[in-house]
């Protein structure tokens, strides 16, 4: 194994929390009581949970060891398609953790929290400017939450027009959250098959769009990494029948400063701040999924929103609003990080980020297309979708390739998605990877492709350099053990 950073194995073992510790230890200081104990009826009292007692040092070492079994974007290249794993700037963490921000209670009267409201107001405006849309709510806590907000806005709009609609058009390349979010609003997803070129076919939309259909959900660029070139024409057809166009902004990283979503005919769009706007994903969250709309739909946005009269920031609620989506203002700390990112990048570097993201993906696509099967050989945007078609003759699957990549020190791409490409390998390098890093990654993939021919068993048994070898996911689902 000559290439790639995955060469060392400093792996400590570490038991589960409750396999450690002794009763009577403690890991944080608790103030001594300076007040007499109050009475409490016995029947309300419980035993308290059976938690292990650990010292502060034990807790710190436990999580430090756990962290060493993990791979983050700070560790190495993380080309997980559709997830935009770009570098997460450290300064943004510092500002989100500033005490003035973290100590702010969300129910303070407006006059006491002008600073936190100002950040909301300015970020609302920045995101409107970046997308080309008119108004924004920052409340949704993640992309899927933003989608749900969008679908609720669709429903409010149609109900306000006097008629609830029952269906929604859904490309077969859509993220699973799209149909799931639509279903929460009672919409029946109507699947649209991708055309031969991997993008939506106008005639199919014309056939399927009717006055029972609330609209369409489009991811653009789509999950094949292709720009939906017909989006304007599609939007016109949908609008003609009284429908709305939803844009899934998961792939916004390809198009900042390049595409105007409003000009594309998009009415509602969500963004993923933990993708495009560089906030760390935290091994699953928290994200933030602001929802952006055209003027006509502004009144339906989740409330409260923040307005500014030239001297004071204030929270406002529109009676037509779909209401609250979150207990307070959404994942506020995440908003602060994205705000700092936009201030650092400005228009110039946001646009460059998108250009370089597309440049990096196009480069990887060109360099790998003779080695891995390329699903659609067309100009790609920020990601390219390959498959294991060429490796099947050696009984090597996408999963094997992914697991082998780990041994070479890379996080695997997104695999088996989008569903329209069997054995999909979806590579999104992002703009923060350098040319040298891409070249090394490309060499590693080429080497794995060779290994697939000469030593398939090696791939079947990978990964081999981690704390655990390949894990049995079937067993986990068959006999669930969810609690220790």
């Amino acid at each position: 194994m000559k290439n790639g950073p995955g060469r060392s194995g400093l792996i400590m073992d570490e038991p589960l929390l409750w396999e450690k510790g002794k009763k009577g230890r403690n890991g944080m200081s608790i103030p001594e009581s300076d007040i007499p104990a109050a009475l409490l009826a016995d029947e309300l009292c419980g035993e308290g949970p059976d938690f292990p007692d650990l010292s502060e040092g034990e807790v710190v070492r436990h999580y430090t060891r756990l962290s060493q079994w993990n791979f983050g974007v700070d560790t190495g290249m993380y080309p997980l398609g559709s997830c935009t794993m770009k570098y997460n700037p450290k300064i943004n963490e510092k500002h989100a953790a500033a005490e003035e921000i973290t100590s702010a209670h969300p129910l303070l009267d407006d006059e006491y929290c002008q600073g936190t409201l100002r950040i909301i107001y300015e970020l609302q405006n920045f995101l409107a400017e970046i997308t080309g849309l008119d108004a924004v709510s920052l409340q949704p806590a993640a992309g899927a939450h933003g989608e749900l907000a969008g679908m609720l806005i669709f429903d409010a709009y149609h109900q306000n027009k006097g008629k609830k609609r029952s269906k929604i058009l859904m490309p077969d390349t859509a993220h699973g959250t799209n149909p799931a979010s639509a279903a929460l609003c009672g919409y029946k997803p109507v699947e649209i098959k991708s055309g031969e070129r991997g993008i939506l076919d106008v005639e199919q939309i014309r056939e399927l769009m009717d006055e029972e259909t609330a609209g369409i959900m489009i991811t653009n660029p789509n999950t094949l990494g292709l720009f939906e070139e017909n989006i304007r024409e599609i939007a016109e057809i949908v609008h003609e029948k009284g429908g709305l166009v939803y844009g899934d902004g998961a792939n916004m990283n390809a198009i900042m400063g390049i595409v105007d979503l409003k000009a594309c005919g998009v009415d509602v769009l969500h963004l993923n701040l933990h993708k495009t706007f560089s906030t760390p994903h935290g091994g699953g969250g928290p994200g933030a999924g602001p929802v952006c709309v055209v003027d006509e739909l502004q009144k339906y946005l989740p409330s409260p929103r923040v307005e500014f009269d030239g001297s004071t920031y204030s929270q406002v609620e529109d009676p037509a609003s779909i209401g609250r989506m979150h207990g307070f203002h959404g994942n506020y700390g995440v908003l602060v990080k994205a705000f700092c990112y936009i201030l650092t990048m400005g228009a110039e570097y946001l646009k460059k980020a998108s250009q370089y993201a597309v440049l990096n993906a196009s480069y990887v696509k060109v360099k790998l297309k003779d080695h891995l099967h390329l699903a659609y050989d067309r100009p790609c945007m920020h990601e390219a979708v390959f498959s294991d078609k060429n490796q099947q003759k050696n009984h090597v699957s996408t999963l094997d390739i992914a697991k082998r990549l780990m041994d070479y020190g890379y996080h695997p791409p997104t695999i088996y998605f989008p569903l329209v490409v069997p054995g999909a390998i979806m590579i999104e390098p992002t703009e923060t990877e350098s040319l040298e890093e891409l070249d090394t990654f490309i060499d590693v993939v080429k080497m794995i492709v060779k290994e697939a021919e000469t030593d398939p068993e090696l791939l079947h048994n990978s990964p081999s350099r981690f704390k655990v070898k390949r894990l049995d996911e079937t067993q986990a689902a068959r006999n669930p053990c969810l609690c220790g």
Binding site: G24, D53, L66, E100, G115, A142, D155, P286, Y349, K467
Partner: protein
């Protein structure tokens, strides 16, 4: 630009390899009519140092500062957070990872989540806890939707009016487009939920209450469980202050079927309302109806113990439109933070801290009563309580604000007829001296 590694030479090399001459050609598939035809009007890029200045200026606009003691809870609580927690939570291997789709390279996240699920299940008295929802409010909405899934043809749910008003609003938002009815149960003079209108009928899928409720009042959970189960419904037990279960009986023990609430108290600051996390668990028999991610134990090729995401057939990326929820990203690192906090406190520490919170809030409650305010609800409370002042409280509140104490939440805008009633919250961060100051200002 320090985040972008591309040199002009790199860009030329890459253009040549791809076979394009410029960026224009790279974006050839974007039609002219879709183009952003102007420069984005955003502030000019800031250096790290200019950003620091800008943010510092914004921070000065906060009139309530870190020096203030905030005696407001209502779903967001001021607790001490040991420095060890942000330090280990900030380990970038944990913080900068994505969802653990590739388990062999995410065992840190996965074991951490498995430990969280276990500690949370023990805390709440449930068989299974998931790896988090967005927050307490959306978790409640999801719990009621889960109740409807289990109840199959049933069309109604009920929730107590003593649940946090914002949580109820979120439930209404989620339920608005769908054909289900929400009944609101009133509360009694003592601040507890009134179950007398619950009758045995077939249409009721689930009944939700919160304990301690919005008024801080500890509900009679066993009696509630009996009334709800007799009405043929599932018992959804909510909460906004999980610390309470260090001292009080947990909801699972009292008979709750689904338990959900806000977990911010466990190691996360108020942060203007987020991020925190939705803690969510249920009885074993309902596990296939659970929303959200679950981590399970398994073995590797050599038979060694390891952890993976599991029961994914409930989730949107497999089931799409038929999933138990649309949730994908959850609260990730906040979930680990909550586990770190539970591990740091331990069973002994959790009890001690819960007791301290209880004692301190009782001290202020008694003190305010002696100072002439009346305690609105006679039932026992944890951490929070409602008092009514005879005279306008706002001048007192203002004086206290000048002494860096944020005293009480005006309930008039949440409940009609609650004029001059305030919700107070006392945690371990409020010293006796602070509480005495509040009491003496009320006496003046």
């Amino acid at each position: 630009m320090r985040y972008l590694p591309h040199t002009d030479e790199d860009i030329r090399t890459m253009f040549d390899a791809i076979g394009v001459k410029d960026f224009e050609e790279l974006f050839i598939t974007v039609p002219e009519s879709c183009r952003y035809d102007k420069e984005m009007a955003l502030p000019l890029p800031k250096t790290e140092w200019a950003l620091n200045k800008y943010m510092a200026e914004i921070r000065t606009m906060m009139k309530v500062t870190p020096e203030h003691t905030v005696l407001i809870g209502a779903g967001r609580y001021q607790h001490n957070i040991p420095s060890s927690i942000p330090s280990i939570m900030g380990r970038s291997e944990l913080l900068t990872a994505y969802t653990p789709y590739q388990p062999e390279m995410a065992q840190g996240t996965l074991q951490g989540l498995f430990e969280y699920q276990t500690l949370t299940a023990r805390l709440l008295g449930v068989d299974v806890a998931n790896a988090s929802m967005y927050d307490g409010a959306s978790a409640l909405a999801e719990a009621l939707l889960m109740g409807l899934r289990i109840g199959k043809r049933k069309k109604r749910v009920a929730m107590s009016a003593a649940i946090h008003p914002h949580f109820r609003e979120v439930v209404r938002t989620y339920f608005h487009p769908i054909e289900f009815e929400i009944i609101e149960l009133p509360f009694l003079e003592d601040g507890r939920t009134d179950f007398s209108s619950l009758v045995d009928e077939n249409g009721l899928a689930a009944v939700a209450l919160q304990s301690p409720n919005f008024f801080g009042v500890v509900e009679e959970m066993e009696a509630a469980a009996e009334a709800i189960h007799q009405a043929g419904a599932l018992f959804v037990a909510g909460f906004s202050e999980p610390l309470a279960f260090g001292l009080l009986k947990n909801p699972g023990e009292a008979g709750a079927d689904i338990v959900c609430g806000e977990g911010q108290s466990f190691g996360m600051p108020e942060s203007f309302g987020g991020p925190g996390l939705g803690m969510f668990g249920c009885k074993q028999k309902y596990v296939r109806n659970l929303p959200g991610r679950l981590v399970g134990e398994t073995t590797d090729l050599d038979g060694n113990r390891g952890y993976v995401l599991t029961l994914a057939t409930r989730e949107q990326h497999i089931r799409r439109g038929k999933a138990t929820s649309n949730i994908c990203s959850n609260q990730g690192i906040c979930t680990l933070t909550a586990a770190m906090y539970m591990a740091s406190l331990g069973g002994t520490g959790l009890r001690k801290l819960a007791r301290l919170n209880y004692d301190r809030s009782e001290y202020l409650k008694q003190g305010l009563e002696e100072a002439g305010a009346s305690v609105c609800f006679s039932s026992p409370t944890f951490n929070e309580f409602v008092v009514e002042f005879k005279d306008d409280f706002r001048p007192v509140q203002k004086r206290l604000m000048e002494q860096k104490i944020v005293a009480g939440l005006d309930l008039a805008k949440y409940y009609p007829g609650f004029d001059n009633r305030y919700l107070f919250c006392v945690t371990e961060t409020a010293s006796k001296e602070i509480l005495d100051t509040v009491i003496s200002e009320v006496k003046k």
